[in-house]
Symmetry: C2
Subunit: 184 residues, 2 copies
């Protein structure tokens, strides 16, 4: 890797995010199919639509910073994150427990993207690429909202959805839980 | 993977975090050695000390939830995150640009851990493991502070440290930057 300027770092960040989003577009249908809760499935499917838009915004960003072709590159972190998610997708056992683990895997993915977009947005701003900065900011907002929705499904889901009923069953056989403490 | 209860998910989360932290203990000296800014190097070295403590807290958590031995397991996401970080460590070019890229890689790592600890803390709370919840909460606070310090080094560093001087040189040859816009 050659990093001769902050511009080179920005291009690396955009390339990494582009690969990450493309991997996620391929993986989200599997996450949706593995979800037992309808709400969780809907959340994954809605985020798939958003993620397709994130790829398009990155393509616009490459044009904005003056690159005609998108550099090749595989985001190794997203590859690892999705390997972990696949382990959960293939898990056997209690549907509620598996949904809880799916949410955990998905929130790791969202946080990765939040970090990546935060850095890329800062570099674009530093270098005066205002259009790119705005595009990255739009996606960052959607990633942040997706993460908040997952927290809501984890915390509120145990109280008010299909997940709740099964989770309540689990607490009867487990240690008594404090249901007002579900924050992520 | 067998997930028959929320307890099984908590154990998976703790096992994943334990592997992640152990990998990070091994990697942080390399990140520190690659940093050109003294402040960034200090930040990595200070976080290494904290990370050793995070491993110890996880060991206490395993005891608290009743596990005598820590399950084997490799955190694949952290492996990928560190592969990416290693690419930056090995990068050649401008020292300021490389430091900026190191910060980007480190913030992805911090965000991964923030997501992991957030989920594990919620599950521990749900299952009534108050000691484990408190241990995870302490570490989560330190991960969050580490992330904030990296943002400060990235944003403020360009204005007030060794990184600043070199970054200013870069902006002379690049596009004019808005120095009040460095947030991550």
């Amino acid at each position: 890797m050659e990093l001769n300027s902050l511009f080179d770092v920005l291009v690396e960040e955009l390339t990494d995010l582009h690969s990450a989003e493309e991997q996620l577009v391929a993986a989200l249908p599997n996450l949706a199919a593995a979800a037992h809760s309808y709400e969780l499935r809907d959340a994954f499917e809605a985020h798939l639509n958003e993620t397709v838009g994130h790829v398009e915004r990155l393509q616009q960003a490459f044009v904005d910073v003056g690159l005609e072709t998108i550099p090749a590159g595989t985001c190794k972190a997203m590859r690892g994150l999705l390997q972990e998610a696949t382990d959960v997708i293939k898990a056997t056992g209690d549907p509620v427990a598996i949904d809880a683990a799916l949410i955990g895997a998905a929130q790791r993915i969202e946080h990765y993207e939040i970090a990546g977009y935060g850095t890329a947005r800062a570099l674009a701003g530093e270098l005066g690429f205002d259009t790119t900065r705005a595009l990255l900011d739009d996606t960052l907002g959607e990633e942040s909202n997706a993460n908040k929705l997952l927290t809501k499904l984890a915390a509120g889901g145990f109280l008010s959805s299909g997940i709740n009923k099964l989770a309540a069953t689990r607490t009867e056989v487990g240690v008594a839980g404090s249901s007002d403490d579900q924050t992520e």
